[in-house]
Amino acid sequence: MGYDVGDKPLNVSPLSNIDEGKTVKIVKIVGGRGLIKRLYEIGLLPGAEIQVLRNSKHGPVIIRNNVSGTFSLGFGVAKKIMVEVM
């Protein structure tokens, strides 16, 4: 549950591409100020570990972590969250 960003990650991909059931770590959020703040406020910031509960690949995703609880994120949002598979 640490938020420290580690060494330079090797395989980074958008959250929207991650298979259901995988646990990933947020590396970076590439979006506007508004989106970044919104995600940070709910605890989704670089370093956060999240579990992908549901992802249809072309629609919204459902994710969960201990700090934030369960959230559904629109496709547009999921595309902008760069994660690293753990």
Partner: protein, 691 residues
């Protein structure tokens, strides 16, 4: 500045009478449950100034002191991007409530603490209501409350709002806190940022006389560093461009040094602090009986792309059955009582003809129309509130998000749109659950095209007379036209009128819970009440206007019999207007009687039939045969399409007005009239070519 002085003087007066308490918190933490328990269900609803978001206020009297409790919208932080956040902030900054209670979900305490820190930085007198402490225990979350109290120096009261645990202790703490000084809280942002904060607050201090915001300059400095639009605007409006410029310069300097956005850095600092708190005071053990596991298991099925959809449609079927089929007898009872029993009582009374007609045909009829909605609305809202409080609606929104996105809406909009097929009135009222004003307006523009159940009798009558063979297909084609037009409307207005940006769809998926009956009932009753009072008055007054226009004409008073005698009615104002409009409908081959019936259809769409029956002096049974002799199938079909599209009924229009304002209501009505005219024209043109 005069206006500001006035507000301070009223504030002193309020202070003597009662103490303002703001209730704030993340969405889905049980804020309204706590509000209801605190105020014992005695609350009233007002609108926040300038917006259509509801403001709930309740009063508590405890011996000498009385509290005025205000329920604030659920927010995650004070960024002020969404309307809810702007409202909550405005209230906190401008009204400075004496006490703020933050309702916190003990299960995800860390996420909630982010808002806590922001509130503490505002130097508000904060009490934390640590809600759902029982669930947290079951989840294996152990919170060292005393440790947290010592660290944050604010009272933290464990509560279970639904079960009324800890409410008394919370009330006692509120009284204790009145005379306590506010604790000043200072989060250390690190040397560089602290230096910048100090520099900016010094500049602010030098202008303080001019500023007079009554807020700590450190907070203002932090917000300036975080590029808070609202605070920037406050400075600008007071002519303090210099402060903004200076703070921008300091911010840019800092960002160049860190090579990173300061806002992001500051949020990270806050989270570092939260994580240090979490490490010290929150322990997570394996769950004993976990709601999270339960929720995850159910979600595997309920958010499944196929099975989840099947379940959603079934749930919707149940909701419609509950609120339209089952309450039909109750609706009928109200109808019998009003339109027969009391109606006859007034009509046979010794009152002068015009007065008894005003009472019976206008006012009573109007009141009847309003009251007939009660069973439908109540049951529908009970169902929706129940589903909302269980957490299921968030899943339904997820299922449809992909499709609704294409229309520029979030998944949440699917519920109001589908309810529109039952009745447009509750559909428009339930757009309140859509986050932004932009989404609400867009959904409200689409809803009137959803063919509600009141339009079905019209389709049935015409299809029985003209399309006996293909009745179902013709009726379905009406629903289809409605949906297609709604989609076109969404695309059109999405690009033209409501071009705004959406920050992106981020929605909390609360765990599945059994809702509290009291909460569900209060929520539903509030919605019904607001319809009765706000839309009700509009409906009754419109009914009086229509009545006056029917029993008077260019030659003066016609007598109340005009309502049932075609010869008299044809001399009324409504008939005259219709005749005036006849040239406009020349291409359709519609005579004034159809136009007049459509005008009456504004009362309620099914009234078109009874008006046609009166104007063609046919009686409702004889109407089909009369229609057959004076209509072609094509005119019948075009008339059906026109009634589907032309204008929302009186009750819907009144609801639109109360929900999004008169300007938009007029826009919707005129837009629909144009659409109806165009589509009808197109149908006649294309139909004429084929036949």
């Amino acid at each position: 500045m005069a206006c500001h002085e006035a507000s301070t003087s009223t504030k002193i007066k309020v202070k003597q009478q009662s103490i303002t308490v703001g209730i704030i918190g993340n969405p889905n933490v049980g804020k309204s449950a706590l509000f209801n328990k605190l105020t014992k269900g005695k609350a009233w609803v007002a609108n926040w100034p300038g917006v259509t978001v509801e403001k709930k206020i309740g009063k508590i009297n405890l011996g000498e002191t009385s509290f005025e409790v205000v329920d604030l919208p659920g927010i995650y932080g004070l960024t002020a991007y969404s309307q809810d956040e702007i409202i909550a902030r405005k209230f906190l900054i401008e009204e400075r409530p004496e006490i703020v209670i933050q309702v916190v979900n003990a299960v995800n305490l860390e996420r909630n603490l982010y808002l806590t820190i922001q509130l503490l930085e505002m130097n508000l007198k904060l009490i934390i209501a640590l809600n759902m402490i029982d669930l947290a225990e079951k989840e294996g979350v152990e919170i060292d409350i005393h440790g947290l109290i010592n660290e944050l120096k604010i009272p933290i009261i464990p509560v279970v709002a639904i079960k009324e645990v800890g409410i008394n202790q919370l009330l006692e703490t509120m009284i204790e806190q009145i005379d306590r000084p506010t604790v000043s809280f200072k989060l250390d942002y690190g040397e560089e940022i602290e230096g910048a904060i100090e520099k900016i607050s010094k500049i602010i201090d030098s202008f303080m006389g001019k500023l007079d915001l009554g807020i700590d300059s450190r907070w203002l400095a932090i917000r300036l560093l975080e590029n808070d639009n609202d605070v920037v605007e406050q400075f600008r409006s007071r002519g303090l461009e210099e402060v903004i410029r200076e703070s921008r310069r300091i911010k840019d300097e800092l960002e160049a040094r860190f090579n990173k956005s300061i806002e992001v850095l500051m949020i990270e600092k806050r989270y570092h602090y939260i994580l240090s708190l979490s490490k010290k005071y929150i322990k997570r053990k394996p769950a004993r009986e976990s709601l999270t596991i339960f929720t995850n298991k159910l979600d595997r099925v309920l958010t499944h792309p196929i099975i989840g959809l099947m379940i959603f449609i079934s749930v919707l079927y149940l909701l419609f059955k509950l609120s339209f089929d089952i309450v039909a007898p109750l609706t009928r009872l109200i109808e019998i009582f009003f339109s027969h029993y009391i109606y006859n009582l007034i009509k046979t009374s010794f009152l002068p003809d015009i007065i008894s007609s005003l009472l019976a045909d206008a006012i009573l009829n109007g009141v009847g129309i309003v009251l007939i909605f009660i069973p439908n609305l109540l049951f529908l809202f009970l169902g929706i509130s129940f589903l909302e409080d269980t957490g299921y609606l968030a899943r339904a929104a997820f299922l449809f998000d992909k499709w609704m996105n294409k229309l520029g809406l979030s998944g949440r909009a699917v519920i109001p749109l589908l309810i529109g097929f039952g009745c447009n009135v509750p559909a428009i009222m339930s757009t309140r659950t859509l986050g932004t004003d932009r989404d609400r307006r867009l959904a409200v523009f689409m809803i009137p095209f959803m063919s509600c159940s009141a339009r079905l009798p019209i389709y049935l009558l015409f299809t029985l007379a003209f399309f006996k063979e293909n009745q179902i297909i013709v009726i379905l084609s009406m629903y289809f036209i409605g949906v297609v037009i709604a989609i076109i409307t969404a695309i059109l207005f999405n690009n033209l009128l409501f071009k705004g940006q959406t920050v992106g769809y981020v929605m909390d998926m609360p765990p599945y819970l059994i809702p509290s009956a009291m909460n569900v009932f209060i929520k539903s009753w509030e919605r019904v009440k607001s319809f009765l009072i706000r839309a009700g008055t509009i409906i009754v007054s419109l009914m009086v206007v229509i009545w006056v226009l029917s029993i008077t004409g260019p030659e003066g008073y016609l007598g109340s019999e005009a309502l049932s005698v075609p010869e008299l009615l044809s001399r009324s104002w409504i008939a005259s207007f219709s005749k005036l409009l006849e040239p406009l409908f020349k291409p359709f081959n519609w005579d004034w009687r159809i136009i007049a019936s459509l005008m009456f259809g504004f009362i309620a769409k099914e009234v078109v039939i009874s008006s046609l029956a009166v104007l063609y002096s046919a009686g409702e049974q004889g109407l089909p045969s009369v229609l057959l002799s004076s209509f072609t199938p094509l005119t019948a079909y075009s008339l059906m399409a026109f009634t589907l599209l032309y204008t929302p009924c009186m009750a819907t229009a009144a609801t639109i007005k109360t929900e999004i304002g008169l300007r938009y209501t007029l826009l919707i009505v005129s837009y629909q009239l144009i659409i109806a005219y165009t589509i009808t024209y197109a149908i006649l043109l294309i139909g004429g070519l084929i036949i």
